[in-house]
Amino acid sequence: MSTRNVSVRFPVGRGRVLTAVDDVSIEIRRGETFGLIGESGSGKSTIGRAIVCLERPSEGTILHDGRDPHALRASELRRHRRQYQIIFQDPNAALDPRMTILKSIREPLDVAGEGSRADRDQRARDLMNRVGLGEGFADLYPHQLSGGQKQRACIARALTVRPSLIVCDEAVAALDVSIQADILNLLAELQQEFGLTYLFITHNIGVVEHISDTIAVMYLGQIIEIAPADRLAEHFLHPYTQALLSAEPVALPSGMRPDHRIVLEGELPSPMDPPSGCRFRTRCRFATGICAAEAPKLRELAPGHRTACHHAETFRLDPNLKEGSQ
């Protein structure tokens, strides 16, 4: 799966346009977990929605196995997109409160018109067992389930149509740590078993580092750094990635915590009117003239590690680094 120069724009009235995703090109290899991190408003969910054809790119192409789904006829697209599923943060909003769990899970199969009713029921029940929801839950309604159980139901439902890729959009964000661990374990098992590819969208750096093979960092609609997951934590090459990593609180005793935290000043600028040049420059401690004049391009500085920063090679050497915020 890949995106080529994909932009997604939304009209916001009075002729103004919001660019949620701006010229994003990523490649997700089969069977890998691709993590996408960034603050709210960075465009990470919009990318996820575009990949499962819930949003049509204003520019650029999405390629599923080399094919552009939007070039397909409507009926073909309907069949094709089943392979690309999405799981959301809030299972309450994703499950119909008036449908039993079994019916919710079976619904994609009903829509697809696959097999007999008995076959579909059986497949839904099998998947319920597989995700750790016993069949006893089949006739319950969503309000009778806990958050973790509901999320399991959503996972089972996404699996019914045998997808090849699942976008997990903050799928564990609302769960308690112990339940979160269960769901992450389950997702890892299912990946092995069904050869799934995941796009894992989250703001939780601990989670994304744990499960991803590759991590991309987004800021104001653009990818600003992309690296193998085991490299990013130590070898980040973008000041924004550094700030994001250092802001994540870790449960370590006071003596063992990283000695400084970079607290970014201000907030994400409006995506309606992004800064010129490098979009991060308004909050960056290392910004110089060139950052305002010229937008940095993603450059490959190590195998599989690309970053969009004019000062990528030098900023970590800056003696001011030790001082904390700007």
């Binding site: 603050e39 339940i179 661990a181 580092e209 744990h210 997951a229 449960a251 370590l252």
Partner: protein, 345 residues
């Protein structure tokens, strides 16, 4: 190590060095249910010293929020029943009349919530709402209230405080609204701020800004904080002591570093070990089987017993909070025998 000493029955004070600002002794809360009373919180004992920041952790449904609301006198008067004592500066809050509560709530005790949008009134400006709080507690003019509101906005790091003073909540971003709510809570310089998941809805970068603001305020004015959160990382970073709650009871208490390195209750240990940062990348995360029982279904045994890997026959009786060290408490009779893994083991 001192021998286990039961503190629940005769509530000994967990901290002995400083007179606590807040001293919660054997707090019990029950609500009227459809056919019987439902106990949601039982035997909650902990204290907060002046200027201290204490973290209250546990999964959803463990009674953290209800404890915070009880401290603010915000639980419904009808249907709620309380036991024990809630001592603020030696005065039992549970004996206050509503009129007396009004004098303390907002003045001595402040509270901030997870969702600032539901705590702020959409039809009044930020400044009017802070001013209202100030004028409720102090005999000051509108002009003075305005000045102090602007000062409070400045103190929480809101840029252009004069302009924001006249802004409506919807005109601010999530982080700004959270700051505005903090400004309102601290405008009367409370002795204790109860922060219930104050940054859960915010991005990590904004969360870092907010926790910095809270830390600075506490350092500057000597305000104590009870920080309620499910995020162990955040609590370890902001609090000097941790209180773990499970199924309506306090199950562990201690200095933050000590709790992280050597948890003395299997539940705290389980919570810490399930954090992804402590397992090898892509490795299987240790989780706690089962889920928190609902109020009304709390067992009469150790409440964690059915989810605990260390459960024995002796765990089938009610557990009491035991002193297991200097300022160290655990509601597990096996805590002396168990060598529970912390964040580094």
């Amino acid at each position: 190590m001192t021998s286990p000493e039961q503190i629940s029955a005769a509530p000994a004070r967990p901290r002995t060095d400083a007179a606590p600002l807040l001293d919660v002794r054997g707090l019990g809360i029950s609500f009227a249910g459809p056919d019987k009373r439902i106990s949601v919180v039982r035997d909650v004992t902990f204290s907060v010293a002046p200027g201290e920041c204490v973290g209250l952790v546990g999964e959803s449904g463990c009674g953290k929020t209800v404890t915070g609301l009880a401290l603010m006198g915000l639980l419904p008067v009808h249907g709620s029943r309380f036991e024990g004592q809630l001592l603020l500066d030696g005065e039992d809050l549970l004996t206050l009349s509503e009129a007396q509560w009004r004098k303390r709530r907002g003045r001595r005790l402040g509270m901030i919530f997870q969702e600032p949008m539901s705590a702020l009134d959409p039809v009044f400006t930020i400044g009017e709402q802070i001013g209202e709080t100030l004028r409720t507690h102090f005999r000051i003019s509108r002009r003075e209230a305005r000045d102090r509101a602007i000062e409070a906005l400045e103190a929480v790091g809101i840029s252009e405080p004069v302009r924001r003073h006249d802004a409506y909540p919807h005109e601010l971003s999530g982080g700004m609204r959270q700051r505005a709510m903090i400004a309102m809570a601290i405008s009367c310089e409370p002795a204790l701020l109860i922060a219930d998941e104050p940054t859960t809805a915010l991005d990590v970068t904004v969360q870092a800004q907010i926790t910095d603001v809270l830390g600075e305020l506490s350092a500057r004015s000597g305000m104590a904080m009870l920080f309620i959160s499910h995020d162990l990382g955040l609590v370890s970073q902001t609090c000097s002591r941790i209180v773990t709650m499970y199924a309506g009871e306090v199950v562990e208490m201690g200095e933050t570093d000590d709790v992280l390195l050597k948890p003395r209750h299997p539940y705290t240990s389980g919570l810490l070990r399930s954090l992804p940062s402590f397992t090898q990348r892509k490795g299987r995360l240790p989780s706690i089987p089962g889920r928190v029982p609902r109020p009304g279904d709390f067992p009469e045994t150790c409440r964690f017993q059915d989810r605990c890997a260390h459960s024995r026959e002796g765990c089938l009786t009610r557990q009491h909070l035991l002193r297991v060290g200097e300022q160290r408490f655990s509601r597990c009779h096996r805590s002396e025998d168990l060598d529970l893994p912390g964040v580094l083991s």
